[in-house]
């Protein structure tokens, strides 16, 4: 790596802690960001000459503070703070500085920085955009590309979100245990949204979207380093790792979605997978199950199966049962039904999903599953209706293509009737993107 590439990586990894600490000093997001920016410019100048500081975050915080306080310092002619040149080549000054910055503060600082992005007034996409901008330091252009909107539109969105956050009461006092736990929950939800934005193939190039997943994992790991005993943060990190590990097998050569059961498992990223499994192990020792841990455990069962046929569906059905209790939702019940169909057959599963139809009437997967179950029990005409409904609700061409495969196989099974049936192929939302 060249000096500049190395420094840029270091600055990116130092950013959340540094901006978070600067925010605590200034109580002003824009000023904190500007101070960090200025500190980065100085780092690019002095680090190649003086060598990198031992604690990049501490250096950036100190220099950022100096820069912002420069004005005040000159006016008041108070005692001089050490200059950034002095900091980078004097170890004792640096360690002294690191101590004064009080590492205990980092934890709540970073949590606060992430938490202000989760303002309940902000729609999910704005929370994510804001976090990517201020915590991760992605450029507006990069974020705009990930969300498939123009740079100007994204700029406006982020500016509005920042204004909303600035006028809200940002909590600067050290949070109590309950407040901290609430903030962690909100931040975890936002990080999982960020991950899913990258994971769901609803648009944007694969490369851009994968980088959102990487970013979510990076921030989840950061959160876990700061809160090492939170089983749900372990679960969230594990869940992201286990799902992202399958990314190399999720798209075929044409860019079509490959379902889990059809994926070439040798393409899965083993390194991510074993790390995810290790985190589940660690989380389970706490015996405080939560939705992220259970979902990670389900992904873990798939990770353990060498082939789709070896999947322990009994275990998955049980885990979905636990998830249903922790976080009841028709979608979870639908997923449990899929697992149940593998263990107890399609008829049992169909009985489970039938009562969900009203609540899931706009949900693509519901009709995909319904069609598949009906097909298995030989109700081909009803299956066809369900599949057509699924195609109408598909978000991506890949989803629609998968359902068409089912329809085509139905047609093959019922060749004599073919002439009488016209399969409707409605326009797919998002297909023209």
């Amino acid at each position: 790596m060249t000096d500049i590439a190395w420094i840029e990586t270091a600055l990116t990894s130092a950013r959340p802690r540094a901006v978070a600490a600067l925010l605590r000093y200034f109580h002003d997001l824009d000023r904190a960001e500007e101070a960090f920016q200025e500190a980065c410019l100085r780092a690019l100048k002095t680090w190649p000459v003086n060598g990198p500081p031992r604690d990049a975050s501490a250096w950036l915080i100190m220099v950022g503070r100096n820069v912002a306080l420069d004005e005040v310092r000159r006016q008041r002619k108070t005692q001089e703070l050490p200059t950034d040149e002095a900091i980078s080549d004097l170890d004792d000054v640096e360690s002294d500085l690191a101590e004064r910055l009080d590492s205990d503060h980092y934890r709540d600082d970073v949590l606060r920085l992430l938490f202000i992005c989760c303002h309940p007034d902000l729609p999910a996409t704005q929370q994510i955009a804001l976090a990517l901008r201020i915590v991760s330091g992605l450029t507006v252009k990069e974020i705009a590309r990930a969300f498939l909107v123009s740079e100007a539109a994204m700029e406006q969105r982020i500016t509005r979100a920042k204004q909303r956050v600035a006028t809200a009461n940002v909590p600067y006092e050290t949070p109590g245990a309950v407040e901290r736990s609430d903030r962690l929950g909100a931040v975890a939800a936002m990080l999982y949204l960020l991950f899913n934005e990258g994971y769901s193939a609803s648009g944007g190039s694969e490369h851009v979207r994968a980088s959102l997943c990487d970013e979510a994992i990076r921030l989840a790991r950061l959160l876990l380093r700061l809160f090492p005993s939170e089983p749900e943060i372990m679960g969230l990190t594990a869940l992201c790792l286990l799902q992202h590990a399958r990314a190399p097998a999720r798209l075929d050569a044409d860019g079509s979605l490959v379902l889990l059961e059809d994926q070439d498992r040798t393409l899965w990223n083993r390194e991510m997978m074993v790390e995810g499994l290790a985190l589940i192990d660690k989380a389970l020792r706490h015996r405080r199950p939560g939705p992220y841990q259970v979902q990670a455990a389900i992904a873990g069962v798939h990770a353990h199966a060498g082939s789709a046929a070896e999947t322990d569906w009994q275990e998955i059905a049980q885990l979905y049962g636990v998830l249903e209790q922790l976080q009841p939702s028709p979608v979870v019940t639908l997923n449990r039904a899929v697992a149940v169909s593998k263990v107890r057959g399609a008829a049992a599963a169909f009985a489970m999903i039938a009562p969900l139809e009203q609540r899931l009437c706009g949900y693509f997967h519901y009709f995909g599953v319904k069609g598949a179950l009906l097909k298995q029990v030989g109700h081909n005409a009803e299956a066809r209706v369900a599949f057509n409904r699924a195609i109408a609700l598909a978000h991506t061409p890949a989803e629609a293509a998968h359902i068409r495969m089912h329809l085509d196989s139905l047609l093959r099974d019922t060749e004599p009737q073919r002439r009488n049936i016209r399969i409707e192929r409605p326009r797919i939302r998002g297909a023209d993107k």
Partner: protein, 121 residues
């Protein structure tokens, strides 16, 4: 004499490397390690998982804490590599070894990559 080379770095930064950057660092080092391997002088090498996967066992009565060993007043004095079926088993084994010892800590961290090597004992 056998020497251990212990690699320290900011893990957030290393995790932030792209695959290409990571590969480049390993390839650069491999110039040396390949030479040592040919000469039969390369012992086991391991890459550890991030500290987020670690637990630490403290004191004589095996208090298990989440996270890596992070104190600065103690020093890294040695390590064991053991094969276990689960984290629980690894913790139980490490706790059994540590039993009755006062002070110090054992950090248990999964290994993500292991090469046994062939240096003479």
């Amino acid at each position: 004499m056998l020497y251990a080379i212990l690699c320290y770095h900011d893990e957030a930064e290393v995790c932030g490397w792209s695959k290409e950057e990571d590969d480049a660092v390993i390839a650069k080092r491999a110039v040396v390690t390949d030479r040592l391997a040919v000469q039969g002088r390369l012992g086991p090498a391991a890459r550890l998982m991030p500290t987020t996967a670690a637990v630490t066992i403290r004191g004589g009565d095996s208090l298990v804490l989440d996270g890596p060993f992070a104190e600065t007043k103690e020093q890294l004095l040695g390590f064991y590599l053991i094969e276990c079926g689960s984290l629980d088993e690894a913790i139980a084994t490490a706790s059994e070894m540590k039993r009755g010892e006062h002070g110090g800590a054992f950090e248990v961290r999964p290994v993500s990559l292991f090469k046994p090597g062939s240096a003479p004992a």
